[in-house]
C-alpha cells in the first residue's frame, strides 16, 4: 500500500522533474545572458512559428536567452494569464503580439510598471504608452496592395468581400482600412459589408459559402490573415467556385502556398514575420541595455502569385511550420 502511494505521488513528481531538467531559474547576470520572452499571438500558427524562428536566430546571433510562450487560441482570456505569469519571471524584456487592443493593456501595463521592457510585434494595443517599439507590417499598405491585386484579378468589376478575424485586432483592422480605401478608387467594383472569421477555419469557410448563396455576383474575396484565407479557400473549393471567384489572401503558410499552386487562391500578400521576430529580439536587447529604439517600424511585404511563388526572391519569405 505504501509502495503504491509512493508511485501515485512519485510519478507526477518525476514527470515534473524530468520536464524541468535543464530549465529552472538563473538570474540574467549570473551567466551573462539577457532573458527575453516572446509571447506569440497564437501557438502553432505558421505566421507566428516563422516569427519564433526569426527570434530564435536573433537570440543565437546576439547571445540572448529566449523563451517562447503562446495561447492555444487567439483569445485574450487565454493570453492574459500567460502574460501575468511571464511577468513573474521578470525577464529583461517581453516581445508580444497582443490578442486584443483593449483587453491586453492591463497585464502589459503591469509588466512595464515592473521595469520589463515591452516590444509589440504584429498587433498593437490602443494605449500609446504601452510598447517601447511597435514592429509590424505596414498593414494598411498591405490592404491597399491586396485591393489592387484583387481588382486586377476580377477585371475591375463585380462585388468584393473583405473577411477579417475580429474587430480589435489592430493589424487586420488596418488591412481593412487600406482595402476599403483602395476599392473606392475602382468605380466598377461594389464593396459588400465586411465579415469576420474569429480566426477560425470553419467560420471563414461558412462565411464564404453563405456569401456566395446571398450574392450571385460575388467576384472577389480578400481574406485578411492566414487562418481566414485558409478557410475561405476551402469554402470556395467546397462549392466548386475556385478559380471563378478570385481570392487574395494574406500570409503564406504551407497550406496557403498549396492553395496558391492548385489555383484555389490567386494571390497572397506575404508579410515578413521572420524579420519581425529577428528585429524584435534586436530591439529588446537594445532596450534592456538602455539604448533608444525606434518607436515604430514597418516591415514590408511581397505579393506571391502562382507564377512567382517558386522563385527564390519570393520563396524565402514563405512561412514555416518548424524552424
Amino acid at each position: 500500500m505504501k509502495r503504491r502511494l509512493a508511485v501515485a505521488i512519485g510519478v507526477p513528481a518525476l514527470l515534473l522533474a524530468a520536464t524541468a531538467c535543464g530549465a529552472g531559474e538563473s538570474s540574467s547576470t549570473a551567466d551573462g545572458k539577457e532573458k527575453i520572452t516572446l509571447i506569440l499571438g497564437q501557438a502553432g500558427e505558421p505566421f507566428y512559428i516563422s516569427m519564433d524562428c526569426g527570434a530564435k536566430q536573433a537570440a543565437k546571433d546576439l547571445k540572448v536567452d529566449l523563451d517562447t510562450q503562446g495561447p492555444t487560441a487567439f483569445d485574450a482570456t487565454l493570453q492574459n494569464p500567460i502574460i501575468d505569469t511571464v511577468v513573474q519571471k521578470k525577464p529583461g524584456a517581453i516581445l508580444i503580439a497582443p490578442n486584443d487592443d483593449k483587453a491586453s493593456v492591463n497585464p502589459l501595463k503591469a509588466a512595464q510598471d515592473k521595469g520589463i521592457k515591452t516590444i509589440l510585434v504584429d498587433t498593437i494595443v490602443g494605449d500609446e504608452s504601452i510598447g517601447l517599439s511597435r514592429i509590424s507590417s505596414d498593414n494598411e499598405a498591405g490592404g491597399v496592395a491586396a485591393a489592387q491585386e484583387l481588382a486586377k484579378q476580377i477585371g475591375d468589376k463585380g462585388s468584393v468581400l473583405f473577411i477579417g478575424t475580429k474587430p480589435g485586432v489592430s493589424s487586420v483592422d488596418a488591412r481593412q482600412r487600406g482595402f476599403e480605401k483602395e476599392i473606392k478608387n475602382h468605380s466598377g467594383i461594389k464593396l459588400l459589408p465586411a465579415q469576420f472569421s474569429n480566426n477560425e477555419l470553419a467560420k471563414a469557410n461558412q462565411v464564404v459559402t453563405d456569401t456566395l448563396t446571398a450574392n450571385k455576383d460575388l467576384a472577389g474575396i480578400f481574406a485578411a490573415n492566414l487562418t481566414t484565407a485558409d478557410g475561405a479557400a476551402a469554402g470556395l473549393k467546397s462549392t466548386g467556385k475556385q478559380g471563378q471567384v478570385k481570392i487574395v489572401g494574406f500570409d503564406a503558410g504551407p497550406q496557403q502556398v498549396k492553395q496558391l499552386t492548385d489555383g484555389s487562391v490567386q494571390a497572397l500578400v506575404v508579410q515578413k514575420p521572420y524579420d519581425m521576430g529577428y528585429k524584435g529580439v534586436e530591439f529588446a536587447l537594445k532596450a534592456i541595455k538602455g539604448e533608444t529604439v525606434e518607436k515604430q517600424v514597418a516591415t514590408d511585404f511581397v505579393v506571391a502569385t502562382k507564377e512567382n511563388v517558386s522563385t527564390p526572391e519570393i520563396s524565402k519569405y514563405l512561412y514555416k511550420e518548424s524552424c
Binding site: V11, Q69, A73, T85, Q88, D100, P167, E200
Partner: protein, 366 residues
Amino acid sequence: MTGQTPAGTDEAPAKKPHDDIAVITPDPALAAVERVADEAVEPVPSALQRLVRSSSIWTAGVLALFIIVFSILMPTSFASADNATTILSNASILLVLAVGMTFVIITSGIDLSVGAVLVLSAVVAGQQMAKVGESGTAVVVTALVVAVAVGLFVGAVNGVLVAYAKVPPLIVTLGMLGIALGTARILTKGIDVRTSAMENIDTPQGAVFGIRLIVLIALGVLIVGGVLLHLTRFGRYTYAIGSNAEAARRSGVNVQLHLVKIYALSGLLAGFAGFLSLAKFGTSGLSGHESDSLGAIAAVVLGGTSLFGGIGTIVGTLIGVFIPAILANGFVLLDIQAYWQQVAVGVVLVAAVWFDQYKRRSRNRS
C-alpha cells in the same frame, strides 16, 4: 417484512391482546444473518481518521509537493507574494465553476456545459450592458443580473431534462454545451463582445486588504458553497441523492426537484463566472473557454469528490482547483511548453482517481 421488529433492538415483540393468535417471533436464521452483518459494519471513524482517509489529504500532499518543488527551483519568481496573487487571480473563475460542479458530481451527475454557459452569459450580459451605458453602477449591476439570470435559466433547463425527462446528465449537458456556445456565436455573429466598464475587479486599485477583488469574490462563493453543502439540509439531500437516490426518494426527499435545483445552481455559478470573466478580461472570450468544463471536473475530482456520487467536500474542491492552476503557472515560469501542462494535469488526474479507487477497494476488502 412488516410486523417484524428490526434486528438488534432490545424491545420484545408487543404483547398481543388476543393470546389465541400466534405471536410472531424473529426467524432465528434471519437473526443469525443480521448479527453477522452487524459485526461487519465498522465502528464510526473519528474525525481524524476520516480526514486521513479522505482523498483530499493526498491531493493536498501532491499540491504541497508541487509547491515545494517549484519554490526550490524558482525561489524568487514562483515563491513570491506577487506570483501568489497571479495564481489566485487566474484560478478564481475556475474556482467558481468548480463549486457548482462539486454539487453536481456529488449527485453522481455531471455538467459539461459550464464553459459554454459562461460564454453565453458573458455575451448576453455584454450586449445588454452596452445598451445601458458606458460605465457606472447601473452598467455593472445590469451585467451581473443578466449573466446570472441566463446561467440560472440554462441550468434549470439542464436540471429539468435530467430529473424529469430522465435523459442522462452527460448527454443533456453535452447537448446544452453545443446549444449555448452556438447561441453565443449566433448572437455575436462570431465576434467577441468587448467592454471596459468593470476593470477594477482585478487590479491593485480595486484590492481590499491587499487581495484582488476577484479573488475575494471567488472565495466568498466558495464559503457560501461550503456552508450550503456541509451545513444545510440542501447539502445533506445532495449527498443522499448521490449515495442512493432511491433511498432518498423513499425517505421523502423530492429528488427530481432537488436535481433541478442542483443543475440550476451549477448554471447560476457558470453565469456568475461569465460576469467575472467579462469584468476581468473585458471580452466575452468566445474561443477561450473550450476546456473550462473539463478543467472544473478535473479540479472537483482531484479534490476527492467521487464521480460515482455521495462523497466530496468543498475544501477538496479548493485544493483540486489549485493543482492545474499551479502547474500552469509553474510550467510557464520554467519555460516548459504549454502542451506539457495538459499532459501533466491529465496524468495527475488519472493517478488521483486510480489512487482513490484503490483506497476504496482496499477499505471494502479489510
